[in-house]
């Protein structure tokens, strides 16, 4: 009976405290109660693993024996690893080629698609379709496109018109653009839809005013459309860049019999991390590579936001 009375007293005390709070305080308490869910989620799923990856990068953990601190050894190894520099160059090649090409392509498609009324929804859906397909299935289909005859459709076409076959994925110079083409195509639908939403958000009155003043089409594009699309472009540049810097699915699936392409010509940083961690089980070294990837992503994103933000 005593415990029941005690708990009753606590409940009464609790209610007393709660009732003494102002409405504002109550709102704050409720807000934090709801916020606790994402906060706990982010701490457990994001921040804690990030912190442990940073710690692991200073250890020699290999899954089997306990981790020992080895200082900067993994980073020194990374700087002296020729594969890392090759991979670093590849990763930036994906970024430097992929981002502008995909943006120009998707803008061109969105710009013209925006003017089409005939089967507009259907054509837009067709462009968006690849975005819904799993990257693995897409990568394998493209892998077969690139094969030599008799199974590769591109080489079959080249041969049919009397042009020499191209090695594509078996070439140290063609392999990276070949993989990139698949990756650009995969993300194109998403970029087109975002661009079209941006285009639709520009008030038509601006265009009407420009036409009355006799501004040419080129002028309308460069003076009205593009400047007003800036928020959309900034979003897509940052979003696309992160995607290309993290490219993995396409590379991994298109070159399984020589992972990362002939002589590492298509290998991006994420594939190197994957191989170091889950094939060589060198977790410390893989964590160091992850930290480098994180810093690269952070630097590029901050740089882009600073350069592209409104002055």
């Amino acid at each position: 009976m005593a415990t029941a009375a005690e708990s009753n007293r606590t409940a009464v005390a609790g209610r007393y405290v709660w009732n003494r709070l102002t409405l504002h305080h109550k709102q704050v308490v409720w807000a934090w109660l709801f916020l606790a869910v994402p906060v706990v989620f982010y701490v457990v799923i994001r921040f804690w693993p990030t912190a442990s990856a940073l710690w692991l990068s200073f250890t020699d953990w290999n899954l089997l024996r306990p981790a020992h601190l080895v200082g900067l050894k993994n980073y020194v190894k990374l700087v002296n690893d020729p594969v890392f520099w090759k991979v670093f160059r590849n990763t930036f090649a994906y970024l430097v080629l992929g981002t502008p090409v995909s943006l120009v392509l998707s803008f061109a498609v969105a710009f013209h698609l925006d003017k089409i009324r005939f089967m507009h929804g259907f054509i837009r859906a067709l462009y968006f379709l690849p975005f819904l397909t799993t990257a693995v299935a897409m990568a394998w289909v493209w892998r077969w496109f690139y094969q030599p005859v008799p199974i590769g459709i591109i080489n079959e076409a080249l041969s049919a018109v009397g042009l020499p076959q191209q090695p594509f994925l078996r070439s140290t110079s063609q392999a990276l653009p070949s993989v990139l083409a698949c990756a650009i195509w995969a993300g194109l639908g998403f970029q087109i839809v975002i661009f079209m939403a941006g285009l639709r958000a520009i008030p038509t009155t601006y265009y009407e005013a420009a036409r009355i003043d006799g501004v040419a089409n080129w002028g309308i594009l460069t003076r009205i459309t593009l400047p007003l699309l800036k928020p959309t472009i900034v979003f897509l540049v940052v979003f696309g860049s992160i995607g290309f810097l993290r490219i993995f699915d396409q590379v991994y699936n298109m070159t399984t019999n020589d992972p990362g392409g002939p002589l590492g010509s298509t290998k991006p940083l994420v594939l190197m991390i994957y191989q170091t961690a889950f094939s060589s089980f060198d977790m410390g070294y893989a964590a160091a590579q992850t930290v480098v990837l994180f810093l690269v992503l952070l630097t590029i994103s901050l740089l882009q936001l600073r350069l592209l933000r409104d002055r």
Partner: protein, 245 residues
Amino acid sequence: MKYDAGGNITSEGLAVDMGAQDHQWWREVLVRQFGGKPYSDDYGKVAYNDDHGAAALKWYTDLQTVHKVGQTGFMDEAQAAFKGGRAALIIDGSFRLGSFGQIKDFEWGVSELPAAADGARSNYVSYWVNGIASGSSGEKLQAAEKFLAYVTSPEAMDVWLKVVGELPAKPALALTEANIKDPIYGPFLKGLQYGHTTLFVDETAQRQVAIDMVNRVLLQGQDPKASLAEAAKAEQAILDAHMPN
């Protein structure tokens, strides 16, 4: 080799793919048949970086560059080229028998790897090792022991042989009269008698070294000897990283 009007290969003599089983063939068979030795006896030191190893590599890459009896990447994968009836020969493991057993379009057979001119034979063999995690105890340990006992029983090995094609580890079961006389299992069993097992420290990474070694010759026209030296250095670094100091 057969070519179409445009000079493209439509079928090949030997399905070559260093990323498949050819790296095993090169290491443990070709290097030895050319008078060399792939590694030191404890597999801690690379030993193929000499004239024998260079001759073995040149012979292998010459198959594509000089004799043109095969082409890496034809039909995407070596096994696909053979299974599709577009390669006359393939060097592969007994694990592939289950897949090749589905071939309906043509007849095929198995033979031992070719001997060298002086009759020297070698083969690459690998085996599974089953284990129980050291932390297990009580009922879970008992269950694991029971499962292991079953997996290694003649009954289970027989199923494994019939479905997958991999040879049973128990000699009494593998070396039966019927298996030795079998036209498919027989050559694999003979190969066991002179086989070598590479003690890999990181098979994927060591395989990559071999793939790159061949690609430098095929795609960049590097001299086999220089490519071999580069490979030996890279593989030794992998071995050193895993060897206890």
